[in-house]
């Protein structure tokens, strides 16, 4: 079959809502796009462990500590499901980690914001995981089988994350005036960065064209962002907090919220490495990876020893 026929068959299958599996023919650009997107997604989960891991030792109760540890473990798990899906495309884990360390691969810019106090644990779970869920629910229908299946698994686990965050921030909003102020402050700082998680406006989104055609992405950035806003406002109102957007207004006709404009300069600054915590996040990952080198070497030496033993017996 010629390249052209293969490509047509491929697109026909995509159009018929079939999933593409690892060993099947796919256009090189499809493969590249997936590797970029899935690895970025995996790195986001793994780097996302840091802002919350930061608070495990200072959790205000034993219950809070157990919950936070379970959540951070889940993020590690989600990162690994995604690395596993990514590796089916013919790239190995060493390369993926290398790309994170050199900056060739990106991760979600939200994790370059620092978590300053306990209220931020609430805001991160409620807003950041909330935004991630909207995106990931949509990606359950992505065209690449291993990615879609990973998303199904992740979505099942993710709703605990959002609920534990909302529980924290709701408790603080109901607490002393000072605690309520902390909750409001956390919402103020995390609201706009959470909206940025959905990426540029559709009109400025350079990677969207093929991604929609190939059904890697099922819905556009703006559609997903609006869905997140519409879901979240009621949750903020219910606990007496105010979303920091003066232009926010219910639009009766659209049955949806109108809202203000994202500070795109900030968005691109953070993406380009100048957020508050960019350097720290990657340096921390590299440090953990390098400091674990001896463990990996020992494990490998142990495996060789076991193998030699088998031969002797």
């Amino acid at each position: 079959m010629t390249e052209e026929q293969l490509e047509k068959n491929f697109q026909d299958r995509i159009d018929a809502e079939q999933k593409i599996e690892p060993r099947e023919w796919m256009p090189e650009k499809y493969r590249k796009h997936l590797i970029r997107q899935i690895s970025q997604h995996a790195h986001s989960e793994v780097i996302g462990m840091q802002p919350e891991g930061n608070w495990i030792t200072r959790a205000p109760s034993m219950r809070a500590k157990m919950v936070l540890m379970a959540k951070v473990q889940d993020e590690a798990g989600h990162g690994l499901y995604l690395y596993s899906a990514c590796e089916t495309l013919g790239i190995n884990r060493d390369e993926l980690v290398e790309q994170l360390h050199t900056g060739k691969a990106k991760y979600a810019s939200i994790f370059n914001y620092p978590t300053l106090n306990w209220a931020d644990m609430g805001a991160v779970g409620w807003l950041v995981d909330g935004a991630a869920i909207v995106n990931q629910v949509s990606l359950q229908r992505t065209s690449y089988g291993p990615y879609a299946r990973g998303m199904v698994k992740i979505c099942k686990e993710e709703s605990f994350h959002q609920r534990q965050g909302y529980e924290i921030i709701a408790a603080m909003a109901k607490g002393t005036p000072q605690q309520k102020e902390m909750a409001q402050d956390a919402l103020n700082r995390f609201w706009w960065p959470s909206l940025m998680m959905f990426g540029p406006h559709d009109s400025d989104s350079p990677n969207s064209g093929n991604a929609i055609k190939w059904k890697i992405k099922r819905e556009s950035n703006d559609v997903l962002r609006q869905r997140f806003i519409d879901k979240t406002i009621q949750q903020a109102e219910l606990i007496g907090l105010t979303v920091p957007d003066e232009d926010l207004k219910w639009n009766e006709e659209r049955q949806s919220y109108d809202w203000g404009e994202i500070d795109w300069d900030e968005f691109y600054e953070v993406i380009n490495g100048n957020g508050l915590a960019n350097r720290q996040r990657v340096a921390q990952h590299k440090k953990a990876h390098d400091q674990g080198a001896w463990v990996r070497e020992a494990a490998k030496a142990y495996a060789v020893k076991q193998k030699n033993k088998e031969v002797l017996v």
């Binding site: 060993r23 590796e87 089916t88 060493d94 390369e95 291993p146 299946r149 698994k153 495996a303 076991q306």
Partner: protein, 97 residues
Amino acid sequence: MSVDNNQGELWEVFIQSKNNLPYKHVGSVHATDKEMALQNARDLYTRRGEGRGIWVVPSQYIVASDPQENAEFFDPSEDKIYRHPTFYVMPEGSKNI
């Protein structure tokens, strides 16, 4: 790029979620030996009681059919409709068959 960070071999993971259900492929893990592969698979894929049995197999030993040869490869079963019960004509009025 060739980097080797000793992150272990790739193992495919199969989980049996309940008694009497078949083992199902769920993904992969990295490990340097079989115990580690089992433990990593447990920690990664059964954090919420999703499994009562795990198989791990080094990925390099999985032999897979080639999807691009599906047409020829699965051809032998295509035209044998007599392997299905609906092929046979039952006498009018017959029951429980």
